[in-house]
């Protein structure tokens, strides 16, 4: 079998990726399917509706599995003859409409089962989160239910195929015997249905490709490869690198169709290395071909997101479960492919530990300074320890994946809902200054902590802040736990559950807590604004008595109207987070420590733990828009500080001061991740000196206990020119706390904000 694939593979004519990338993109987007191939999305929807009517009493996991099968069996399909990979099915989002509805970047509206819960058992929690969101207190998914930042166990899938999982299910059933519960039985049946359906679906695509090859002989090379690959995967172990990539891509699409968001595609250079080696060893592939293939593969991710939404994460380097360092030939080959690809998606992360090769530092730093800024660099020493502290075994912790952006989750063993809630750390201060009432709307959001003008000491103020913060955290915890208990009725996910330990062994879906590790993520955003504001009050109203509390509180309520002198004093004269200033750094650490410790004292609704993170993503802007003026001199509506770093324009102590401040935080207490955004001027990292310094900066951040770091290397002039001539800069990428986007797709306001930050970095 393998020999025959080999001989066929040698006949391949490798037309170049660049010749095909636009056509593949267009076909991915236009989504026209031949009616001959099956039922339309409307027809699928009617079939699904009818199924639910006919089977009202069936458990939801079985309803979902059956509709999953219905879609894959009857939906229209397509194979792009210019592509190496097939996956297309016109599923019309039937399953997501049934369960939890559209993602942010889609427009098909809410999901039936989630809305049912939100109006029913989850009503009070949903109302609470809605109100918190409208006031910039928290942000997060509907009802506080993050349906998983998730990665299936790629190792297990690639090693055994879906038929291997079916064997496991049979064994698990057998060992339970008569002791099997109704829920377990339904779970196993659902898995059998969805895996059978996926295998049959691959055959449909394979047959389609085979027929297409006959009618379009000019495309027979790729169509032939797809035909062969899909007659083997996903049922069985892939035989070649191409089959492995096809397998992963198909799994990704089917898991997302089922309703989970796959947020990491695994440790690329570890998982795929054996396939690559075997191909090279057998003479099936050259490095040039492998690079081309990877470009075709990654292009699919770009087609899906176009750099505009949350991308998918591939991680390189770091360690295997036994602690050995992973970096190999495939690492560098893939990085070369990524450089040639030159798109913001997928997102690449690189893990480092003492002993990572110098070449890996140099290569990645060089890519970043050339403008490929879609990289997150992670510090394994800190990240692994943080996970071990929260109860993971060292072996499991070592194979963490940055999932989504930089939130770690153990591959194939953890359902780490890393984004259940993002908490605005600055808002509780606004509430503490206003006795628990939002000054903008007059709505009471927190407990009455007293008239702030009457606070006699900084301790009084701090205590009020903590009371307000704890109120937000406790409410979030309670309502998230309620939502998790409804999860099995909202979005059971049999297709991915079989690829997550120990769901098959225990007979429980991931929604029912079947995973080895079940986590809930609390993200703290705006640390700089919270710390700077507390410290400004401490310095100006208590220690220094420059202004009274009443004066400052009044000024913040009127957005410093007529008090620009005060605002500038608070902003420019009081030390700020991110400048290696011990006083304010200690306040920031105090806030972070309290936030993390409180979160870690919580258990979640699936029996697991809650995990703290410190970053912002886009919440810096959205929270800022809903927060009044703050005592750090920030005006009403202005963005909060990005990531875990300093407020815009206030890291005047330079990048080393920023890193020194940030490394006073204990990142072994942020198991749910963190990131520092750093902007560097191109001249600072140019030449050999610059590369050496750039690498030194990264290593220092790591050796001082940092967590993750990401860079933008851009000068303001280039960006201004891009504003004037957007078409000439269509490919210019910038990175903003976790997502890399095309600069020209940002709004003018966002562009200006971004430039202000860069000017400062220069």
């Amino acid at each position: 079998m393998i020999a025959s694939t080999g001989s066929v593979a040698r006949e391949r004519t490798w037309d170049s990726f660049d010749d095909n990338r636009d056509a593949i993109f267009r076909r991915f987007k236009d989504g026209s399917y031949s009616p001959d191939t099956g039922a339309s999305p409307d027809e699928l929807q009617r079939m699904a509706d009818a199924y639910l009517l006919e089977n009202p009493d069936q458990s939801r996991i079985l309803q979902k599995a059956n509709i999953f099968r219905m879609v894959l069996t009857h939906g229209r399909i397509d194979v792009d003859p210019e592509d190496w990979f097939a996956e297309k099915i016109d599923h019309g989002n039937v399953l997501r409409k049934l369960t939890h509805g559209a993602r942010g970047d889609q427009d098909f509206g809410p999901g039936l089962w989630l809305e049912e819960a939100a109006a029913g058992n989850l009503k009070s929690g949903t109302d609470w989160f809605d109100q918190a969101q409208e006031h910039g207190v928290t942000t997060g998914p509907r009802s506080g239910l993050d349906l998983g930042h998730i990665s299936p166990g790629w190792d297990k899938l690639l090693a055994r195929g879906l038929s291997g999982l079916l064997d496991d299910i049979a064994q698990a059933r057998a060992s339970l015997g008569d002791a099997i519960s109704k829920d377990q039985d339904a779970f196993y049946s659902a898995l059998e249905i969805v895996y059978g359906a996926a295998i049959d679906f691959a055959s449909r695509l394979s047959n389609f490709a085979s027929a297409a090859a006959e009618s379009q002989p000019e495309h027979s090379t790729k169509l032939g490869a797809i035909t062969r690959a899909l007659s083997n995967v996903p049922a069985h172990r892939p035989r070649t690198l191409h089959e492995a990539l096809q397998f992963m891509w198909l799994m990704h699409q089917l898991i997302e169709m089922e309703g989970e968001n796959v947020r990491s595609m695994g440790q690329f250079d570890r998982t795929l290395y054996p396939f690559y080696r075997a191909d090279v060893g057998a003479g099936r592939i050259t490095d040039d071909h492998a690079r081309e293939l990877i470009k075709f593969f990654w292009h699919k991710w770009y087609c899906g997101t176009e750099g505009a939404a949350n991308g998918k994460n591939f991680v390189f380097g770091g360690q295997a479960a036994d602690g050995s360092e992973i970096t190999n030939d495939l690492t560098y080959l893939a990085l070369d492919a990524y450089e040639e690809l030159n798109t913001p998606d997928p997102k690449l992360s690189v893990r480092y530990l003492p002993g990572s090769p110098e070449r890996l530092y140099d290569r990645v730093a060089d890519l970043i300074r050339k403008g490929h800024n879609s990289f997150v660099l992670m510090n394994d020493e800190t990240a692994v320890e943080a996970l071990v502290k929260r109860g993971k075994t060292p072996e499991d912790a070592r194979i963490y994946l940055p999932i989504g952006c930089y939130e770690p989750a153990v591959e194939g063993k953890e359902v780490a809902c890393t984004m259940n809630v993002t908490v605005n750390l600055a808002k509780p201060l606004e509430l503490a200054l206003n006795d628990g009432v939002d000054p903008r709307t007059g709505v009471r959001l927190g407990p009455a902590t007293g008239d702030a003008s009457g606070f006699e000491s900084y301790d009084d103020l701090h205590a009020a802040y903590i009371t307000q913060l704890d109120h937000v955290l406790n409410n979030s915890r309670q309502h998230i736990a309620e939502a998790e208990r409804e999860w099995p009725r909202i979005n059971p996910a049999p297709f991915i559950s079989g690829a997550i330990d120990d769901c098959i062994a225990t007979g429980a879906d991931i929604s029912a807590g079947g995973a080895r590790y079940n986590s809930v993520g609390f993200v703290g955003a705006g640390l700089a604004n919270a710390a700077d504001s507390l410290f400004a009050l401490k310095a100006a109203a208590f220690d220094g008595a420059r202004f009274t509390m009443a004066e400052i509180v009044d000024a913040t309520r009127t957005d410093f109207y007529g008090r620009e002198d005060m605002r500038l004093y608070l902003r420019n004269r009081v030390p700020k987070w991110g400048n290696n200033e011990p006083g304010v750094d200690a306040v920031a650490k105090g806030v972070a420590d309290h936030f993390c410790a409180t979160v870690h004292s919580f258990t979640n609704g699936r029996g697991g733990g809650c995990q703290a993170a410190l970053f912002t993503l886009v919440a810096a802007a959205s929270f800022g828009a809903l927060s009044g003026a703050t005592p750090d001199g920030r005006k009403s509506g202005e963005s909060l500080a990005p990531g875990v770093g300093a407020s815009y324009g206030l890291d005047i102590g330079g990048v080393t001061g920023l890193i020194n401040s940030v490394s006073t935080l204990d990142f072994t207490e942020t198991p749910n991740g963190s990131v520092l955004d750093v902007s560097l001027h191109p001249t600072a990292v140019a030449g050999e000196d610059g590369l050496n310094a750039f690498v030194g900066l990264i290593k220092t951040f790591f050796s001082q206990g940092g967590y993750a770091i990401q860079f933008n290397v851009l000068d303001a002039e280039t960006l201004r020119d891009a504003q004037r001539n957007p078409e000439q800069y269509a490919s210019l990428q910038v990175r903003i706390t976790g997502w890399s986007v095309y600069f020209t797709t940002l709004t003018r306001k966002e562009q200006d904000q971004y430039i202000a930050r860069i000017v400062h970095a220069g």
Partner: protein, 317 residues
């Protein structure tokens, strides 16, 4: 350049304290690795193209940037000499009567008024540079003294170098060379590298553009090159001033005859310091020429390389 603002009491230079006007952190082209460059005030030269005009005189100066001013008049209230006043409902800064008390700077929250050159002790500077020790360690970096001419505040500069040396921090000195040899010699035991500015091989030209002949600079460089300490030569390329083929050839020939030269770093003249001259009310002496273009710089680099030198071109965006 007349030293008009530096009265005796404002010029400070001792082994304990000196006048520092800036720190540049994450400095990457001022010697090996990641460095903190400490800028000391005062310079024996007054180069027309100087891009740190606040470095020239030894005493403190006040930057005033009216575009930042919010007219709060706090400066007027505290000014002891009425240098800050209100005339016709407008705030006016009259430098002629300013005694550099700095009180106005202390109350100016907008940043419109800033002090160039504050007195710092050796311990204070050391605390500031030690903060980045982790970066020096990871990158093979350290501290660079620059200016101005850092060795003009000789006792202070040498005390700083000694303190760094004792702390195990790599040291570099960026010098213009217009010094007594004994000063360079005194710095030598604590200096692991020199960055030596070479402006022009023609002594007459040199005087026309910097105020002094280059004899002592050339002589000191020759002596320094015999001591074994590594030296990087720095040449700011100013079109029409020092960039003719003959001038470059002459510089290359001279440098080629020296020992312990690690390389020649070319720096491109730029006019971006104009706003600083304005903020100091100093006459803008920047030559009215465009920065050298990239091709010319590369050609100069090639020419020097052909003379057997290692060349570092300016780092461009």
């Amino acid at each position: 350049m007349p030293d008009s603002q530096s009265s005796g009491k404002t010029v400070i230079a001792s082994a304990r304290e000196g006048r520092v006007f800036d720190f540049k952190r994450f400095a990457v082209h001022d010697g090996p690795g990641i460095r903190t460059t400490v800028f000391l005030k005062g310079c024996p030269l007054s180069c027309a193209w100087c891009h740190n005009p606040e470095a020239i005189i030894r005493g403190p100066q006040i930057f005033f940037r009216p575009e930042r001013c919010i007219e709060c008049l706090a400066c007027v209230d505290v000014c002891p000499t009425s240098a800050q006043t209100v005339v016709d409902n407008k705030r006016v800064f009259t430098r002629g009567v300013c005694d550099l008390s700095g009180f106005c700077v202390d109350v100016c929250n907008s940043g419109a008024l800033e002090l160039a050159g504050r007195v710092m002790s050796v311990d204070e500077v050391m605390e500031a540079v030690r903060a980045d020790a982790g970066f020096y360690d990871e990158s093979g970096g350290g501290v660079t003294l620059s200016g101005g001419e850092p060795l003009l505040q000789a006792e202070f500069a040498i005390a700083l170098l000694r303190a760094c040396h004792t702390a195990g921090i790599h040291t570099a000195v960026d010098t213009c060379g217009q010094l007594q040899w004994s000063t360079l010699e005194a710095a030598l035991p604590f200096t692991e590298m020199f960055l030596y500015d070479l402006k022009d091989m023609s002594s007459e030209n040199h005087r026309a553009n910097t105020g002094v002949l280059n004899d002592r600079i050339i002589d000191n460089l020759k002596r320094l090159s015999g001591t074994g300490v590594p030296i990087e030569i720095r040449i700011v390329i100013i079109p029409g001033v020092n960039d003719s083929d003959d001038q470059i050839e002459g510089a290359g020939r001279f440098i080629g005859g020296l020992d312990n030269i690690t390389g020649v770093r070319l720096l491109a003249y730029h006019r971006m310091a104009g706003s600083k001259y304005d903020a100091l009310d100093m006459k803008n002496t920047l030559p009215d020429v465009e920065p050298p273009d990239e091709l010319r710089l590369m050609a100069i680099g090639k020419q020097l390389e052909a003379q057997g030198l290692t060349v570092h071109l300016p780092e461009r965006a």
